[in-house]
Each structure stands twice: as structure tokens, then as C-alpha cells.
């Protein structure tokens, strides 16, 4: 039964993707209908999958005797992330019905979105390295193609290329780590790495661990690879909400959480993870303070919040990281979709050209502010509980200076979130816009996400129970929601964090005039502390390298046949050489 559910949760979106494509662009209403139907069906199946969560493999795929059976394992990590991607995926698709109504080529859009949802579900449910790598690369491909969806816009094409190349660095890291693990354990199963981690020589294990850290940092847009995410904001906004906030960028955090028990003994690994999270959280928060593009601000804030999760894993609290991942997916999807509704209504992303929109779009204002308060971490929204849990864990298990810097990050978060909400909705109106109201589909998905932002922290006990029950190697403690609520409310760190948050808001209140009138972009922050040039160098050198091989693509049939025959001869030579 569980095996069938795994097949369905991957297969339904993929089948929907095929049908949307077959429905053809001449029938947009049918395409919208199919996309919503199949994504909602996948969302429902992903929720049913919760009751079948176990640490055992439920689906075996016989591949080749050398590699053994390839498995899918619906454990707590996999099931919870499947639910996040499928449910938020269905809400983003629902939102797209209004957002994309006038677009041409809906088939391509929905095909890629549904293909992505299925691949993301496959990625988190896979129990072996081969499938993890396959699905990992499919998500990167969909992300690239959706960033460049408006392929007549050079900025969109460049952003897509950058995302593809930088995340490929992570893909190479994953492949390297997985191959070394395969050579040393003799199995592609993830569980084999856990059970044999003690027998692998420590230096080999540390190579695997750091390769995976590179993979995670590139995928989750963490330091030093974080510069692709802001450029990815050229994608249609529902895509930004789904892929670049709620799901795909979580894959890196997922990878670290999944392999934490195997890599925790590697000296320096936990510290490195903690530092990557810390630097990302802090620098991205600083950059978010000066950006004037609404979506870029949200992108930097995503990097910063992902930094909190990575930091939580670095201090050894996988539960806190997963809890914040759940909260962040909901409130960041809410913020992005609200931003999408604003952009759709007034047609600009520049916050300096907004202001005073509060009275014109009250519904969007309310949902946006719910998301913003959750991002700041104010009670009783879900962001409060999960961020406080991370800070509490950081206080207990990391050096005091690291905790202090994360606390500073929380203050900066409050600062830029307040600034963002202020620039968009309050103050004077800085430009005239023709505002048209949000559609019904938009309101439904925003309403549901707002409800989630208020209530999702109540599932903490269930999530914790699920994780500790189905992840035998992680050795997590069991805690109920009530335990955590009591622990957090009685901890001094919580009140300290709240004080910092209010301080951040207060500081913005006093400098609010400067954020519009005397605004000067900061060169240091705009270039991501110089990392923009490093990332740009990676992208440019890959493109220069491929230019060299461009001459082999002549488009001439005879040359292509020559290449085929040459390759055939090469293979025959290798076989002959191997046989003799």
C-alpha cells in the first residue's frame, strides 16, 4: 500500500505534466483545470502517506545485480518534505490560475511545475544515492527552465544559466560524495552509509561529508554560493514561491539533516556547517536591508532563513531545523504569493515605486503582514516558535559569540521585514498605479497559507514524534508541543530574542525616512561582499569552456556521422584493450 502511495505521489504530478502538455496551449482553461486537479490530488496523497511512514523500504526497484535493489523509504524526513512540496505546490498552482491567466505557453509552464513537484517528492523519498542524484538534477533542470520562462528577456536567461551552473557545482559535489560512499560501502543504499560509517576511514568519510556540504550549500543558496538565488527572481512569482522559497532550496537542508548521523563524528564538519549557516544568515540579512526590489528582498531573506536551518543542523538539532523548515515554507510561500499578487496588480517590483497600497488592497495587506510577522518571529505565529527553538538550541550547543551573531540576525530580520512592509503598504504613495483586485484562486491559496502560518506550530509534537520514530540513526528525543511551548516560554533566550526583534523594528522606525528619500545602494552589499564576482567567475569560466567545444557542433549530418563512427571505434578499441 505504502509502495503504491509513493508511486502515486511521484506519478500523479508527472502524469498531470504530460496531460497538460497534450492539452495544448490553444485550450488554456483545460490546462489550468488539469494542473490544479493533479497537483491537488498529489497533495492529498502526500497527506495520506503520513499514516504509512516507516523506516523500512516500501518500494524495491530491481536495477542491476551489481547495485542491488534500489529503494524508496517513506521515513519522517521524506514524508514531511513530500507533504510540504505537494501541498504548497498545489497552492502555488492554484495561485497560478489567476497569476498566469494572460500568459502564452501555459503548457510549458505547468509541465515544468508539475514535473518539478513529482521530482521533489521523489528526491526526498529516495532511499539510495542513484535516485537522489537523478531527482536532484531534475529539480535543478526545472528550476533553470522556469527561471528562464520568459526566454525573450536576457536577464531571465542569464539568471537561469547562473542558477543552473552554480547548482551544478553542488551536483558534482553530491555525485563525488555518493560515488566515494558507494566505493567504500559497496552499496548504493543510504542506510548502508549509516550502518557502516564507523568502518569507513575517517579521512574518506570527511571527504564525503564535505562534498555533501558543498552540494547542500549550492542547492540551498548558502555561503559562498548564495548569489544565484536573488538572480533567480526573474521567474514567475508562483515559481519563486514554490521552488525558490518553499521546496527546492530546502533540498540542501534536507541533505544535511538526512546524513547528519553519519557525518557528525567527522572533526570540523559540524563547525563548518554551523559557520556556513551563520555567515549566510547574517550576510543575507544585511543585504536584504538595502535592496529595493521586493522579490530580491524576499530572496535574501530566504537565504538568511535557510542559514538558520543550516546553523541548527550544525549545532546538532535536526528537529529544530526541520521545524523551522516547515514554518519557513509556509510563511515564505505566503509572502512570495502575496508579493506576486501585488506585482500582478501594479506591474512593478520596485519598492521605491510602491507605498500607500494599504487601503487599495486590504486582503493582500493582511496576508502579507501575517507572513511578515511570522518571518520576524513574533508570537503566536509559526515563525516565532521555530526560530526561538533554533536560537535556544544555539544558546545551549554553540559558542556564545555564534549565538550572539544569530541573535543579531534576528534583529536584522525584524529590521528588513518591517522596512519591506512599510515601503510597500504604508507611508505616502510614490507612484500612481492602476490597481486591480486579486482573483478568487489567489485569495483561496493566500487564505489557506495564512491559516497555516497561524497554526502549523501546533503540529510540532506530531512532527517530532514522526521523526524520532522513523529515523533510527538520528537518535532524536521525544517532545510534545506542550513541552516545547513551556520550555520556550520559560527560557530567557526567548525574551532576549523578542527584545532584539522589537529593537530591530524600533531602529527602522527612526530611520524610515532615509529608506526612501536618501536611498543610496551600497556597493559592498550589492556585490554580496565580493562573492558576486567569485560566482560570476565560475559562471563565465564554464561558459568559456563550453565555447571551446562549440566548434564540434557544426550541424552537418556528415560530421555527426563521423563523430558517431569515431565513438563506436573508440568503444570497440576500449573493449578490445580490456579483453586482451
Amino acid at each position: 500500500m505504502a509502495g503504491w502511495l509513493v508511486v502515486l505521489v511521484i506519478g500523479i504530478p508527472w502524469l498531470g505534466a504530460l496531460l497538460v502538455w497534450l492539452a495544448a496551449d490553444a485550450r488554456p482553461r483545460l490546462q489550468h483545470f488539469i494542473a490544479v486537479l493533479f497537483s491537488v490530488a498529489a497533495g492529498i496523497v502526500s497527506l495520506v502517506l503520513f499514516s504509512y511512514a516507516s523506516s523500512q523500504a516500501v518500494l524495491l526497484v530491481s536495477f542491476a545485480p551489481t547495485f542491488g535493489d534500489l529503494t524508496f523509504v517513506p521515513d519522517g524526513l521524506g514524508v514531511s518534505l513530500t507533504a510540504i512540496s505537494a501541498v504548497i505546490g498545489s497552492l502555488a498552482v492554484l495561485f497560478s490560475v489567476n497569476y498566469m491567466h494572460a500568459e502564452k505557453q501555459l503548457g510549458r509552464y505547468y509541465f515544468l511545475v508539475l514535473f518539478f513537484i513529482g521530482a521533489m517528492n521523489g528526491l526526498v523519498l529516495s532511499g539510495n544515492f542513484l535516485f537522489i542524484f537523478f531527482f536532484w538534477e531534475i529539480t535543478a533542470l526545472c528550476s533553470y527552465a522556469l527561471i528562464s520562462f520568459h526566454n525573450d528577456d536576457p536577464k531571465a536567461v542569464a539568471g537561469g544559466m547562473k542558477a543552473l551552473i552554480i547548482t551544478q557545482v553542488g551536483g558534482v559535489g553530491l555525485l563525488t560524495g555518493a560515488l566515494i560512499a558507494f566505493v567504500n560501502t559497496g552499496s548504493l543504499q543510504v542506510s548502508a552509509l549509516f550502518s557502516q560509517a564507523a568502518e569507513i576511514p575517517l579521512n574518506v568519510l570527511s571527504v564525503i561529508a564535505f562534498s555533501f556540504l558543498i552540494a547542500a550549500a549550492a542547492k540551498s543558496a548558502q555561503f559562498p554560493f548564495h548569489t544565484w538565488l536573488p538572480d533567480a527572481m526573474e521567474a514567475p512569482t508562483p515559481v519563486s514561491a514554490l521552488i525558490h522559497a518553499a521546496t527546492m532550496v530546502n533540498a540542501g537542508v534536507y541533505l544535511l539533516a538526512r546524513f547528519y548521523p553519519a557525518f557528525a563524528p567527522v572533526p570540523g564538519w559540524k563547525t563548518a556547517v554551523m559557520l556556513v549557516g551563520l555567515i549566510s544568515a547574517l550576510t543575507a540579512a544585511l543585504m536584504a536591508c538595502t535592496t529595493t526590489d521586493l522579490k530580491r528582498t524576499l530572496a535574501y531573506s530566504t537565504v538568511s532563513q535557510l542559514g538558520y536551518m543550516v546553523y541548527a543542523i550544525g549545532v546538532g538539532s535536526v528537529t529544530a531545523a526541520q521545524f523551522h523548515l516547515l514554518s519557513h515554507s509556509i510563511f515564505k510561500a505566503l509572502l512570495f504569493l502575496s508579493a506576486g499578487a501585488i506585482i500582478h496588480s501594479i506591474g512593478t517590483r520596485d519598492m521605491l515605486r510602491m507605498g500607500g497600497l494599504s487601503a487599495k488592497m486590504p486582503f493582500i495587506r493582511n496576508t502579507f503582514i501575517v507572513g511578515a510577522l511570522a518571518l520576524m518571529g513574533l508570537p503566536i505565529l509559526n515563525g516565532f516558535w521555530s526560530k526561538e527553538l533554533i536560537l535556544e538550541m544555539g544558546f545551549e550547543h554553540s559558542p556564545l559569540w555564534a549565538y550572539a551573531l544569530m541573535l543579531l540576525g534576528a534583529g536584522l530580520t525584524a529590521f528588513y521585514t518591517f522596512r519591506m512592509a512599510w515601503l510597500v503598504f504604508f507611508g505616502e504613495q510614490r507612484a500612481q498605479h492602476e490597481v486591480h483586485a486579486a482573483g478568487v484562486a489567489m485569495k483561496i491559496s493566500l487564505g489557506l497559507l495564512s491559516f497555516g502560518a497561524f497554526t502549523s506550530w501546533l503540529v510540532f509534537g506530531g512532527l517530532n514524534n514522526l521523526l524520532s520514530r522513523t529515523l533510527p540513526f538520528h537518535k532524536l528525543e521525544q517532545e510534545s508541543t506542550l513541552d516545547v511551548v513551556q520550555a520556550l516560554l520559560s527560557a530567557p533566550t526567548t525574551w532576549l530574542a523578542l527584545l532584539t526583534i522589537f529593537l530591530g523594528c524600533g531602529v527602522f522606525w527612526f530611520v524610515r525616512k532615509k529608506s526612501t528619500l536618501a536611498y543610496k545602494p551600497s556597493l559592498v552589499l550589492d556585490s554580496s561582499f565580493g562573492l558576486e564576482s567569485v560566482n560570476g567567475w565560475i559562471v563565465r569560466s564554464v561558459q568559456a569552456f563550453s565555447k571551446v567545444f562549440q566548434i564540434t557542433q557544426t550541424g552537418q549530418l556528415n560530421w555527426n556521422i563521423f563523430g558517431i563512427v569515431g565513438a563506436l571505434l573508440g568503444i570497440l578499441l576500449v573493449l578490445w584493450w580490456g579483453a586482451s
Binding site: 564540434t552 550541424g555 552537418q556 549530418l557 556528415n558 556521422i561 563512427v565
Partner: protein, 103 residues
């Protein structure tokens, strides 16, 4: 060189295959490309029968050869249909002028 029947067939296969390959490398007319492909496949059909004879599974070799003949006919038909379409779209059958896949 000892000219047994097997040897003759072997050299026939090699010769036909060589002619086909050479033709594929130099032919420019799309119709001729389809014809040259036919020659190449005939070499393969002959090789299958030869392989069947050498390994002692003559029946197997022959049945695969018969299958290849059927498939090959379809390939030729589709190839010619494509040639017609190419002629309509590009106005030429010269493959050196059809290079829209150039990098």
C-alpha cells in the same frame, strides 16, 4: 587466402558495410543518404545470417535478419517522408545546407 563460402560472405559483409559507411560520410543528397543507409543495413542483415551460421544458431540468425528487413523497410519509408518534409521546409535536399543545429 582461402576462399571458403564463409570467407566470401565475410568479405561481402565488410565490403557492403564499408561502401555504406563511406557513402554516409560523403553523400549530401538526402535521398541518397536513405539509399546508402539501405546498403549499410543490408550488410548488417548479411552479418546476422553469417553470425547465425558460425555460432550454429542458423534459425535464430535468420529470424532476426527477417525482423531487421521489416524494420528497415519502415525506416526507409519514414526517412523518405522526412526527406519530402525537408524539401518542403528548406527548399533543398542538400544536407550541408541544413545546419540549424549548429552550435
Amino acid at each position: 587466402m582461402n576462399l571458403t563460402p564463409l570467407n566470401i560472405v565475410f568479405w561481402g559483409v565488410a565490403g557492403l558495410f564499408g561502401v555504406g559507411l563511406y557513402g554516409l560520410l560523403i553523400t549530401r543528397n538526402l535521398i541518397k543518404v536513405v539509399m546508402v543507409l539501405q546498403i549499410l543495413v543490408k550488410a548488417v542483415v548479411l552479418a546476422l545470417v553469417l553470425g547465425g551460421k558460425i555460432s550454429g544458431n542458423l534459425g535464430l540468425g535468420q529470424s532476426i535478419a527477417a525482423t531487421v528487413i521489416v524494420v528497415d523497410t519502415i525506416v526507409a519509408v519514414v526517412g523518405l517522408a522526412l526527406a519530402v518534409q525537408v524539401r518542403r521546409r528548406f527548399g533543398t535536399l542538400d544536407v550541408s545546407e541544413i545546419d540549424t543545429l549548429r552550435g
